[in-house]
Amino acid sequence: MSEVALRNVSKWFGRTLAVDNVTLSIPDGAFVVLLGPTGAGKTTVLRLISGLERSDAGDILIDGRSVAADTPARRNVAMVFQQYSLYPHLSVRDNLAFPLRSPILRTPEDEIARKIRHIAEVLHIEHKLDNRATELSGGEMQRVSIGRALVREPAIYLMDEPLSSLDAKLRAELRVELKRIQSDLGATVLYVTHDQIEAMTMATHVGVLDQGRLVQFGSPREIYEAPVSLYVAGRLGLPRINTLPAEIFAGAPKGARTIGLRPEHIETGAGRSTKVMRVEHLGDQTRLHLRLDGHDIVTLRNGGREPEPGETIEIHPRNPLYFDASGQRIA
């Protein structure tokens, strides 16, 4: 496993700047999650590191060596695609063996057999090894596809929303499994996802992309608790951060245009009166939909009596986030 670094990397697709001057360092053994909406450049960053795309500017280093001119094969990276991309004409076993048999690795057959047995056990696909790749369910295909990356010991694993197509139960299972495998191997992983739970639970570092620019890079806690902008703040948190005009509560710092309130920033019992519009019971939590001066606020009930819809409750902010007119955080 190795350290991977991007230095001022840019990539154009026609007239669109897909990746804008990104500098990013992925430490050895780190699990880095890239967040951002569709089109933010997350997948392009993966493809640039893998060599499937060539950058228009900047340099990419693996273990301190520039790989910008290398073919994907010579970069020694493994990638799990969002689409499973199993080779349909091969059996599961041959799919897993495919990277090991490549002219770069040329693994002896007995070692291939040993590695496949091990990976199949880890991913619970031992009984499917002799099936054709097309005879698997979606979850099995994705596990094989992850397995095809894990049989190797590459410089970095690149994973493009590998769990997004699975059902909730399998996703939760594989999430735990992936994290366990990653820490066991000490593997370096760059992982693209939309899923907040995946980001929060698996990542050692989170990078947030906005229109090709890396706007913040830090630990999941840092990204959640100290976002640099309104945009970053909106990436994490369920229910999403509430954004209101700053002057709606007293005490906004100078220059603040927007106040950002996560559920834990909202204290009840004193302050401004809001009307309870709706109460949602999600099982483990209860969401309150409030209305204040024509603005909707979603928060969680934290103890106390459960209010009824139509009731009025008082709220005030506690340690909220303040943003200026351009969306940058000022306090």
Binding site: Q83, S85, H89, M141
Partner: protein, 311 residues
């Protein structure tokens, strides 16, 4: 038992079945006629009204593969027939003097037909892959140009090709005919195969590139096996064209490289109206294409390669 609305009723199945069988009979009748004529005697073959029930004879096949001459009674008496096929020709006071030219014409057809098919499919696959995957300048214009070579009947350029072949020394050569049929077939091959390769998701090659393979290895190990269906059907189309082509073969070949199609009609001129020999020649001529199609048939089953990429 009730049927789902997308499934035909038993009655509809019967009607469809009768239509299909009826149509098959109509189209297969000429073939059956040729097949049976090959086993008739020349007299039965021209009998009127036509004989449907007849005594089978191998005369047509013997005549197809041999050349014969008429001999005097003294000669025939001095040389009794040694084999069953010599026996057959004795009925007409003839003896076999050697093999006919059918064998070598047939071999020419095999060399030229399969040679040009291989070349068309080989070049066609590479070109189709390039058109499908790479940024080729003027791609659409080039593809249109390639297709435009099929917009006129090939025979329209017969005279220029005849003159070209003569000055290049390609007339009546195997190479000349292979190149010619390849030139005609390659546009079909490129277009057909491009369609098939377009349908193979790029993700497979990208996965192979990352798995440690070069682009050519990815093409060979991942794209080719999945294009097998397309390659097989393209090969069948190319072979059928090259195999059956008559006009150019008649024009450009006469001896060493003559293929079977222009040769078969000439059989009739050797020793009277020998329809059974012509029919036998046509029957034997059908065999390779049939065998080839049957061998490749299993690749024509689509669907085995679909469904491993989530769309």
């Amino acid at each position: 038992m009730s049927n789902s609305i997308t499934e035909p009723t038993p009655r509809q199945k019967w009607v469809a079945g009768i239509l299909v069988v009826g149509y098959a009979l109509v189209t297969i009748l000429p073939l059956i006629w040729i097949l049976t004529t090959g086993f008739k005697t020349p007299a039965d073959a021209i009998a009127y009204p036509p004989k449907v029930i007849f005594e089978p004879s191998l005369e047509g096949y013997v005549n197809l593969f041999t050349t014969r001459t008429r001999q005097t009674q003294e000669f025939l008496a001095a040389h009794p027939p040694q084999t069953w096929y010599e026996e057959i020709v004795r009925k007409y006071d003839m003896v076999i003097v050697g093999p006919s030219r059918y064998g070598e014409r047939f071999l020419n057809s095999v060399i030229i037909g399969f040679g040009s098919t291989f070349l068309s499919v080989f070049l066609g696959t590479l070109a189709a892959y390039a058109f499908s995957r790479f940024k080729v300048p003027l791609k659409d214009d080039l593809l249109f140009f390639i297709l435009s070579t099929r917009m006129m009947p090939p025979i329209a350029v017969a005279i220029p090709i005849f003159l070209m072949f003569r000055s290049l020394g390609l007339s009546d050569t195997h190479l000349g005919m292979i190149l010619l049929y390849t030139a005609v077939n390659i546009s079909l091959a490129v277009w057909l195969l491009k369609g098939f390769i377009d349908e193979i998701p790029r993700e497979y090659e990208e996965a192979a590139l990352i798995d440690g393979y070069t682009r050519f290895q990815a093409f060979y190990k991942v794209v080719l096996p999945q294009a097998a269906t397309g390659i097989a059907s393209t090969a069948i189309f190319c072979l059928i064209f090259a195999w059956n082509e008559y006009a150019f073969a008649a024009l450009l070949t006469s001896g060493t490289a003559q293929t079977a199609p222009p040769f078969i009609p000439t059989i009739i001129g050797v020793g009277g109206q020998d329809w059974p020999a012509v029919a036998a020649g046509a029957t034997v001529f059908l065999v390779p294409v049939m065998v080839f199609t049957i061998i490749l048939r299993k690749h024509l089953l689509r669907g085995i390669t679909f469904g491993a990429v989530r769309k």
